[in-house]
């Protein structure tokens, strides 16, 4: 947004860390600068990966009273691109570089009613929003979706803080979220045009909500979401990119992006947001042996189905297999998927 968003890189120190759920590490960073992180903001953090360094974005769960300590929570993805592993290795006293809190997902004050939807680690973007709505005395519901309680960070604290306003949807307790029901409930509400929804979570959940939201005819501008482009319909796997015009063929490792691989092979690419929003890194798909896992929010559903283009910063190519093949142990010997593209 057009708020002051100068990055403000600085050295920060880890002052606390520890697990808060299965695979989720809480990390408290202390900065010398005093600045409250508004709900919805994130820190960009420089993570060391294989000798180099890259930037990852993590939502700020909360800021301490004195404005110096920001709490993050990081999910260690098994197919991590390296960032989450780096974050999980951090110990008290370690120093790293981080920005000041950056805001791309502001909570608007003044809606008649709010629905917050968090899936898995997406809860990190919702904790501060829900707290602020509670303090403002706003009318809100926090829907928190997870596979098992053990994998849902902060669940106990949130239950205490929000009581009946928290709705935990836990797959293995048979309380899974029925997206259609949730959105219908919003659409049938007397206040429906004035209800704002904020969500953060895996792309399957967000796509389902978005699709139902638009089918129901609710105003799309009332549905806000943040994605760092880091979740897809399939687990990441290695695939091959070919650019015949440039004579390039290169493999994209599971923990690397197609954009990085193309640049690594020596081709110059244009890009900006790195989270599948702006569309600057689009490439033309000339041929496909496999299927595209579109992880961006730039292309429409029709465009994604047509698969003539893809966002190189977040989207991937996979060779989906049926579950019986996978369980029979043949997946390891599968050939990598291949995409043939052209670039600008």
């Amino acid at each position: 947004m057009t708020a002051p968003n100068s990055m403000g890189w600085q050295a920060v120190r880890v002052v606390a860390c520890g697990p808060v759920a299965d695979g989720i590490q809480r990390i408290v960073l202390e900065s010398s600068r005093v600045e409250r992180a508004a709900p919805g903001s994130h820190l960009d953090v420089e993570v060391a990966i294989e000798g180099g360094s890259e930037v990852r974005s993590y939502s700020v769960v909360n800021t301490s009273e004195d404005g110096r300590r920001h709490t993050l929570a990081v999910h260690r993805a098994p197919q991590s691109r390296g960032g989450s592993e780096f974050m999980h290795r951090l110990r008290v006293g370690d120093e790293l570089n981080a920005t000041r809190p950056l805001q791309n997902f502001p909570l608007r004050v003044g809606a008649a009613r709010y629905t917050l939807i968090a899936g898995g680690i997406g809860i990190t973007a919702m904790v501060a929003m829900a707290s602020m709505l509670r303090r403002l005395g706003a009318d809100y519901t926090l829907v928190y979706v997870g596979r098992t309680r053990a994998r849902m960070a902060f669940l106990a604290e949130l239950e205490l803080e929000h009581g009946d306003r928290l709705r935990a949807c836990v797959d293995d307790e048979d309380t899974s979220l029925n997206v259609a029901q949730l959105v219908d409930q919003i659409a049938n509400d007397d206040l429906s045009p004035a209800i704002e929804a904020y969500m953060c979570g895996p792309i399957r959940l967000m796509d389902a909500v978005r699709r139902k939201w638009s089918d129901t005819g609710l105003p799309l501008t009332n549905l806000r979401f943040e994605t760092f482009g880091n979740s897809g319909w399939f687990d990441p796997e290695e695939f091959i990119v070919r650019i015949p015009r440039l004579g390039i063929e290169t493999a994209v490792a599971p923990d690397s992006s197609m954009l990085e691989a193309i640049q690594g092979a020596g081709a110059e690419m244009m890009f900006d947001c790195l989270k599948g929003e702006c569309g600057l890194c689009e490439v033309k798909v000339l041929g496909l042996d496999g299927c595209i896992d579109h992880r961006d929010v730039f292309f429409s559903e029709e465009q994604k189905n047509a698969s003539r283009k893809m966002c190189a910063c977040v989207s991937r190519v996979v060779r989906p297999v049926s579950s019986d093949v996978e369980t029979s142990g043949q997946s390891a010997s599968r050939e990598s998927a291949i995409v043939t593209i052209d670039i600008t």
Partner: protein, 370 residues
Amino acid sequence: MTTVASTTKKTMEHPLNAWYVAAWDHEVTSTAIISRTVAERPLALYRTDDGRPVALADACWHRLAPLSMGKRVDGDGVQCPYHGLKFNSAGRCTFMPAQETINPSAMVPSFPIVERHRFLWVWLGDPTVADPASIPDMHQMDSAEWAGDGLRIEVDANFQLVLDNLMDLTHEEFVHAGSIGQAELSESDFEVTREERSVTLSRWMLNIDAPPFLARNMQDKFPGFRGKVDRWQIIRYEAPSTICIDVGVAEAGTGAPEGDRSRGIENYVMNTITPVTSKSCAYYWAITRNYALDMQSATTRMREGVARVFRQDEDMLVAQQQAIDANPDYEFYSLNIDAGGMWARRIVERMLQDERNAAGHADPVRMSEK
């Protein structure tokens, strides 16, 4: 606890957690978008088709082109003049050119805005503490018992200099001789009282000749009146930058100081100052009366009279700001007459300190509740 500086600051920073007037009610319409800068933040102001005022940041999310140069569209939105992006009144992007989706990050800040007392008030600070109840009381602006009108002046001076000017009216003797100035102003005593967010300064001048402006006003209610008057000025400051002045004259010795103003006239001079930059402000004012309500000529004559008086103030304030800038190594020293302005400064200073403290807090709401 307040830290008191050993010297008086020449100009002041402006608090952000405050309501400032961005425009007169009639200046903002549903057909055009106007640009106004408030507290160093350019705003695009307009009304929706249902007449609700809107204040968006006057810079498109995309390449920062001014939205105020764009068009009003879609019932409550605007369209950027450059590449056609559309934003609704909440600041959310509703259209992007040449693509089938809308970037979920795309939005411009939409600021709280409230229409009250014939003004549009905006809040540029923490929106979670924007309580319309803290808009200063200026009910004379649109009460059935009062009539009057006013204008807006753009003054190239820090907003606090205007507040200083209004909190000490002894300057009238020197700046406004021939209209409202007279020697008795500096000869009479004054009294200052204060509350947490307000300061009141009262001055009475008994058995004097009315200055020309007030003598003329007196005749609207008492045709042909001549003779000595008791004159009052009760200046009420309300944080951070509104000053309503109860002024008037009554036939001398008829009990006005004791509360009987029936043999006199009451005028309220309404002033609210909006910081624009650190060296400029927008000064919104009006003069109202609670008699001869249907006398339109009085409304016009009084507005024009005050406009002439305030042009004299403007000349002085601009010259003062220039002298401040030209003499950075010289300090301000104070006089006893500055008491009202100094208390106002103390209150602004405290608001600024509270904001600095709140910046370090994860919980701005708790701050405001304490």
